[in-house]
Every structure is written in structure tokens, then in C-alpha cells.
Amino acid sequence: MKLIKKILRTIKSDRLLLAGCIGICILLFIVVAAPLITEYDAKLFGPDALVAPGDPAHPLGTNHLGQDIWSMLIYGTRTSLMVAVVASFISALLGIIIGGIAGFFGGWADRIISELINVFLMIPTLFLVLLIVAMFGSSILNIMIVIGLTSWPSNAKLMRAQALSLRERTFVKSAQAMGENRRQILMKYIIPNGVFPVVANTTVGMANAILLEASLSFLGLGDPTVISWGQMVYDGKQYLTSAWWIAAFGGVAICLTLLIFYMTGDGLNHVLNPKHGKAGE
């Protein structure tokens, strides 16, 4: 109870974080209640193709196959959030493990891992993802796994830096002097105190995953069996002059979702930054 109150108070203390959290709640609601919000199945090829927005039956219009745009947006949320959660979970897990090991144990392992992290941060992820998805097929599962496997370096870099500085902190030395063993130090002191920046970064990672999936779809490498915002923009490209709404609304949805994740991430970073902890000084 006390913890929940504390979390709520923290969220309320930062405007960006508050807005982001409300946004995430709305997104989650849309995911759960999609059939309640929409009249049509997004995959249904209706009789009316290329209906312009403002139509009483289709407030945001329909596409060239007669699919209702509004329904597609709503069901697309499911795809985007799934990609975001699965990909960023894989990436956070890999990042925490790899970065934690490098930073805490140091030495040669650290030198090799950190060089690898830097190289991976440098080389363009989009091309690698493109190549892999083109080779191994563009099912949504593949896409999520590939995005997760290629986006761990930024998390690893953060976690490594955290472990590296925490290792030198007095309370870690003090725990050691009290007789804690290495495993306990890693689990009880390093990870709990170092994981928060990674969590904050993960929200940005979610946004990037959504963007990457959309980019793949836009290049024609999306999963054709799911409804996805990127796919909508891709479809709309051909009808840009005659039916602008097909491409436009998918992009708006991406933009809003990304804003929500960025706000949450910035808010979290702001709250977690020790400099902002004490306002009285």
C-alpha cells in the first residue's frame, strides 16, 4: 500500500511522467477493449472502398480494400504494443545481463564486451534487421525477436556504466566488508540500484521498436497477416493523391504512441535523476 502511494506520488510530481502514464493507460485500454470501441473487424474487406473521412459509417474512412481505418488503428495498437513489449523485454534482459557482467566483473570480459557494445551502437541497426527479416521471413514473431536481438547495446551500455560506478560506491564496499558474497552483492546491491536507468531507457526502446516495425512494414517487409500502422502508411502510399487518409492516420497513431513513450521515458529519467530529487537545496 505504502509503495503504491509512493509510486503514485512520484508519478504526480512530474508532468511529463503523469501525461505518459495516462497515455499508457489509454493505450492499454484500447488494446483490451478493441472490439468494444470499433464496429468492424479490421480485417474485414467491406463493400465500400476508398470512403473519405466524415462518413457516418466510417468516421475515418476506408482503404482501397474497404477496411475501416478507425478499426485498423484500434487493432493496430495491439500489434504495435506487442512488438514494443516483446522486443524491448528481450533487449532489456540481454542488456542487463551483458552490461551487468561487464561492469561488475570488469577486466578482459569488460574490455571485449564494451568494444562490442560500441561497435554495435555504431553500425546501422535498420540494415541488419532488414537483412535478417528478408532472409528469415517477415512473420511478426520474427520481427519482434530480431528487433529485440539487435537493440540490446544501448541497454547494455547503460547497465555497464551503472555497475561500473556502483562497484566503487561506499555501500558496496561496506556490504563486502560486512561479509556479503559476490552473488549477493550483484543481486542485492548492484542490480536493484542500477536497473532504473535501464527501465527508463526501455520506454524509449519500446518507441524505437514500434518505429522499426513500422519502417519494415513501410519497406514491404511487414507481416501481411497482421494489422499494423506501418502497413497502413505503406498501403496509403499508392493512394496518396486520391485517398490521403489511408497513410495519414496510421502515421498519426505512431506519432501519438511514440510521444507517450518518450514522455514516460523523459519523466522517469527526470524523476530518477538524483539532482532533481531534492528541490530544497
Binding site: 553500425i123 532472409m135 506501418g230
Partner: protein
């Protein structure tokens, strides 16, 4: 300094080598055998198969294959495209010009505009300008580049009919000389503008936060205490200290830009490497894709090296 440059070159080489290794691994773990990966999905020409087997030693042990492929790559041979039956290197070389025409100018313009906006915001923190700039860059940051490109087409090409929406030149007009350049510039406007808009937020953010940080440094207080004018303090001392992080971000942003430009080229049908990539994707022409991946990585590594050297020249603390 030489040692620093050597160190940077070395990590650039590691990067390129790693990309090569990734390519090599992908060929071998991809569905189907390496030869069919290189030949394309529906190609069954036994002669070509034999030639490829011989060239890369695909019947030899793995380390021989690795060595063969490495040496051919170092010689600048990235294999042939199966659709066009042409060396990938030549195809990329042909298309890289227009891509670079998009990438470097847009990075520089975004750097200048973004940094200027960031500096302005930082100097008037909390003012109307700051709030507007912050909000604007925040939203820009959340926009998918390809979508923004399409929206700009709708606005400037379809609705206002001001600018051409695709291509690099007006083929029918057949301009020459100055009018040719003007025509290219007109075609450049939208794709370049999109890239600039997409990249502004990075520079804005870093410029604003580093100016704010430097302004709070103690040495700025010292200069104030000497009676030095705020203008001089800013122009000389805040600026040089705050520009360093911006330079670093320039390198990182370039990496994103060089790969992200593919999307923009697709949107505007720009005749650069992005188009090449797109056709390769559609035809599953893996040799081209892998060649592109390698070339893009070389470009990123080179940019990083240049950026690091520039940084070292600006920051006296780096002198290994």
C-alpha cells in the same frame, strides 16, 4: 595525437570486420545453402552454381570459405547481383552519389538549425520561444520520417503544387547547365527538408542541455565576477565548451541518417542506394543487401573517425 588517430582507425576496422562476420554468418545460417542465398531464390543455373562454389570455396572447410570471402571482399569484390548479373560494387557506386547528396547536406543543415534553436532555447530558458521550440522538437522527434515525407508531399506537391514529389530531375524537360542545378535543387527540397526536420530534435536537445550545463559551471561564474560581458562569455567560453557534445552527437546521428535515408529515398523515389535496397528486398537479392550493409558500415565508420578527430582537435584534454 597520432596514437589517438590510429586507435580510432583500429576501432573503425573492427567495426567493418564485425559487419563482414555478421554477413558471413547470415549466409550460412539462412534457410537454404550459401550458394542459393547468393544466387537468388529461383535461380538454378548449374554453371553459375559451379562458378560460385569455386570462387568462394564453398565445398571447402568453413575457415577456408571465411578466408576466401574475406580476401575477395578486401579486394573490393562484393559479389554479383543475380537479377542484374552485375558486380554489386558497381551498382552501389553508381547510386551512391545522389544518396550522399541527401545525407551530408541534411546532416549539416540540421546541425546548424538544431544547435541554433537549442542555444536560443537555453539562453532564454522558460520563455515562449523555449516552450515553442521544445514542443515542436518533441513532436518532430516522434514522427516517423517516411510518414512526415508523405505528409509533406500531400501538402507541398499535391495541394499547393509547389514542389515536385519524386525523382531527382525532370526527365521530360532535359535541363542543362544552371537550370539543371536549379531543377535538382527543386527536387531536393522535400526529401532534404524531411531529413532535416527529422534530425533537428537530436541537435536541439543536446545543444540546449549542454549550454545549460556549461552556463552553470563555476568558471562561468568566475568570468562573471571579472566583469566580462555576458556576450563575450557566451561567444567564447560557453560556446566552445558546449559545442563538444554536439559534435559527438553528430557522429551518432550520421549512423542513423545513413541507414534511415533508405526510407526517405523510397518515399520520394530518389534515385539513390535506397531504391537499390528496396528492389533488392523485393527480389530477395541478398548479395546486394549484404553489400549495402557493408558499404553503409564503412561510411558510418569513416564518419565516426572524422568526427572523433574533429573532437580531438577541439578538446585539448584528448591527447594520447
Amino acid at each position: 595525437m597520432t596514437k589517438y588517430v590510429i586507435k580510432r582507425l583500429f576501432s573503425g576496422l573492427i567495426t567493418i570486420f564485425l559487419v563482414f562476420v555478421i554477413n558471413f554468418i547470415l549466409i550460412h545460417i539462412a534457410p537454404g545453402d550459401p550458394v542459393s542465398v547468393m544466387m537468388g531464390k529461383d535461380n538454378n543455373d548449374p554453371e553459375l552454381r559451379a562458378a560460385l562454389m569455386a570462387k568462394y570455396g564453398l565445398d571447402q572447410p568453413l575457415y577456408v570459405q571465411f578466408y576466401r570471402q574475406l580476401t575477395t571482399t578486401i579486394r573490393g569484390d562484393l559479389g554479383d547481383s543475380y537479377i542484374y548479373s552485375r558486380p554489386v560494387v558497381d551498382m552501389i557506386a553508381e547510386k551512391i552519389g545522389p544518396t550522399l547528396l541527401l545525407v551530408f547536406p541534411s546532416a549539416l543543415i540540421a546541425l546548424i538549425i538544431g544547435a541554433a534553436m537549442g542555444i536560443l532555447s537555453a539562453r532564454h530558458e522558460g520563455s515562449v520561444i523555449d516552450v515553442i521550440f521544445s514542443g515542436l522538437t518533441y513532436i518532430l522527434n516522434a514522427m516517423p520520417s517516411f510518414w512526415l515525407g508523405l505528409m509533406l508531399i500531400i501538402l507541398f506537391a499535391t495541394r499547393l503544387n509547389l514542389l515536385p514529389s519524386s525523382g531527382m530531375i525532370d526527365v521530360r524537360a532535359g535541363y542543362t547547365g544552371f537550370r539543371y542545378i536549379l531543377d535538382v535543387l527543386r527536387h531536393l527540397a522535400l526529401p532534404l527538408g524531411t531529413l532535416v526536420l527529422i534530425n533537428i530534435p537530436y541537435y536541439y536537445r543536446i545543444a540546449k542541455s549542454s549550454v545549460l550545463q556549461v552556463t552553470n559551471e563555476e568558471f562561468i561564474t568566475t568570468f562573471r565576477a571579472t566583469g566580462m560581458s555576458e556576450r563575450k562569455i557566451f561567444n567564447k567560453y560557453v560556446f566552445k565548451n558546449a559545442i563538444l557534445p554536439v559534435v559527438t552527437v553528430f557522429g551518432i546521428t550520421m549512423a542513423f541518417l545513413i541507414s534511415g535515408v533508405t526510407l526517405i529515398e523510397t518515399v520520394f523515389a530518389w534515385p539513390g542506394t535506397g531504391r537499390l535496397t528496396l528492389t533488392a528486398i523485393n527480389q530477395r537479392d541478398y548479395t546486394v543487401l549484404m553489400g549495402m550493409y557493408l558499404v553503409v558500415s564503412v561510411m558510418v565508420a569513416l564518419t565516426m573517425i572524422v568526427v572523433d578527430i574533429v573532437y580531438a582537435l577541439l578538446d585539448p584534454r584528448i591527447r594520447y
